[in-house]
């Protein structure tokens, strides 16, 4: 008999025990490990998918931002270049304007300098001319000239107008200081403030007795001078002679001519300066007119 029934039962039991053992130690752990690995791979794949999606999204976002940035950059660039162009034009205009102003002021300053220089030159020339004239006239002063000067003075007193004559006469008699109204009538006649009681005749040279008497006579005749006449020498008068009393003066001298000429020229120059100088002008070199 090939079948031993005890062995059959024992083997069946053995088999069932083996099933349990293998389930316990073989299939279950291996299946668990497989499941765990599958879960892990699935999780990793899902994670990778999620990451891919996120990366895709991020990439799209980045692309979008990049495009936006490009657009903004282009806009900004064009705007900036436009602004720069405008600014450049403005700055150029400002620079041009400044340049024009500067050139104008520079030209003005130059012309003013030129004018002041020429004016100073003129003044200097005049002063020199006058000095030379004075010197020449002083040098030329001689007895003959002095006689002519005295004659001229006498003639002048004789030719005084009625108004002036009356004024001088009253001045002589009252001894009050009169207004210098007569000085405008003729440049030869000037009134100065004087406190002298007597009549003073000043000349650049020593008058001879005859000349002194002639002058005193004509004063008495024409102006009714009663007080004594005093004579003094004043070299500055340059071949001249003058009558001074109580602030009134009757004079004739080359000095007076020169002075009035100098005054006229000075006035002319001042007019020129006023005409030439404008507001905002650069300071000019002032050369004061040479005084004698």
């Amino acid at each position: 008999m090939l079948i031993d029934w005890f062995t059959v039962v024992a083997q069946a039991v053995n088999f069932l025990v083996l099933v349990w053992l293998l389930k316990r130690f073989f299939y279950q752990p291996i299946l668990n490990a497989l499941d765990a690995r599958e879960r892990r791979i699935a999780a990793e794949l899902a994670d990778a998918d999620a990451k891919k999606m996120a990366a895709e999204k991020e990439r799209n976002e980045f692309q979008h931002k990049n495009d936006e940035f490009d657009r903004q950059r282009t806009a900004l660039l064009s705007k900036a270049s436009g602004e720069a162009q405008a600014e450049r034009q403005r700055l150029l205009a400002v620079a041009q304007n400044d340049f024009d102003n500067l050139r104008a002021s520079r030209e003005k300053a130059l012309s003013r300098e030129y004018r002041s220089l020429s004016e100073a030159l003129t003044r200097k020339t005049c002063a020199e001319v006058f000095a030379i004239a004075r010197k020449v006239l002083t040098d030329l002063a001689s007895t003959t000239l002095e006689a002519h000067v005295v004659e001229a003075f006498i003639r002048r007193v004789r030719e005084l107008g009625d108004d002036e004559k009356a004024q001088l006469a009253s001045a002589f008699q009252s001894g009050t200081v009169s207004t210098p109204a007569a000085s405008t009538a003729t440049p030869m006649l000037a009134t100065v403030t004087a406190v002298a009681e007597e009549v003073l005749v000043r000349s650049a040279f020593e008058l001879s007795v005859a000349q002194q008497n002639a002058i005193a006579a004509v004063l008495k005749e024409m102006l009714g001078v009663k007080s004594s006449v005093r004579f003094a020498v004043e070299p500055e008068l340059v071949s001249g002679i003058e009558l001074v009393t109580n602030g009134h003066k009757v004079a004739w001298s080359i000095e007076n001519h020169l002075a009035s000429l100098e005054k006229e020229i000075g006035k002319l120059l001042e007019n020129q300066t006023e005409y030439g100088s404008g507001p905002g002008s650069a300071p000019t070199v002032e050369i004061p007119p040479e005084s004698r």
Binding site: T7, F26, A33
Partner: protein, 224 residues
Amino acid sequence: MHLSPDDIIFWEYGFIKLNATIVYTWGLMFVLAAGSKAITRKLSVGLERARWQNLLEIIVSAIKKQIEEVGLRQSRTYLGFVGTLFVFVATASLFTVIPGYEPPTGSLSTTTALAICVFIAVPLYGIKEQGLGGYLRSYLEPTPLMLPFNIIGEFSRTLALAVRLFGNMMSGTMILAILLSITPFFFPIVMSALGLLTGMVQAYIFSILATVYIAAAASGHGGG
């Protein structure tokens, strides 16, 4: 010369006896259980894993796949039973490379025990899947006239299972023994290699047939 390892008796007390079949089966059980425990003690769930773990994973995956291919979707439910059938029969024949070893499956008692296990397991799984009525109804298909034949078929296939495995395993061992006495050198090695192959094929056949029977019972398309 003995036909079955049942005849090699180590210890006997009344009807209880410890023959080579039982002892070698215990040896196999011990090796399988201890080896599995040793290998699965430190399993890796990562992508890197030990060779032995890889081997076991391949075996388990292959068995699982075969069960699914036969038509049982709940492959894990049947893995323990069918897998153990395959592993036991395969290991039993694989160990024939060890000199002095007699495969337990070369004993008709062992194969009968396995066939009886299948014989009992098939209706159990069928009832579990379809319920008692559903399972019993499957004996009446395609017509109630087929009921006796279905019942006969149920027994005959169990007998066939047992005898087929026994015949193959026993014959392999017998041929080896006979050849060893006739041509001692080269030919027995070739036959031994052939025996290993036959053992593997028989393990596959046994387990796949059991699976087919279970699948037939579980899906309710009648036995056969």
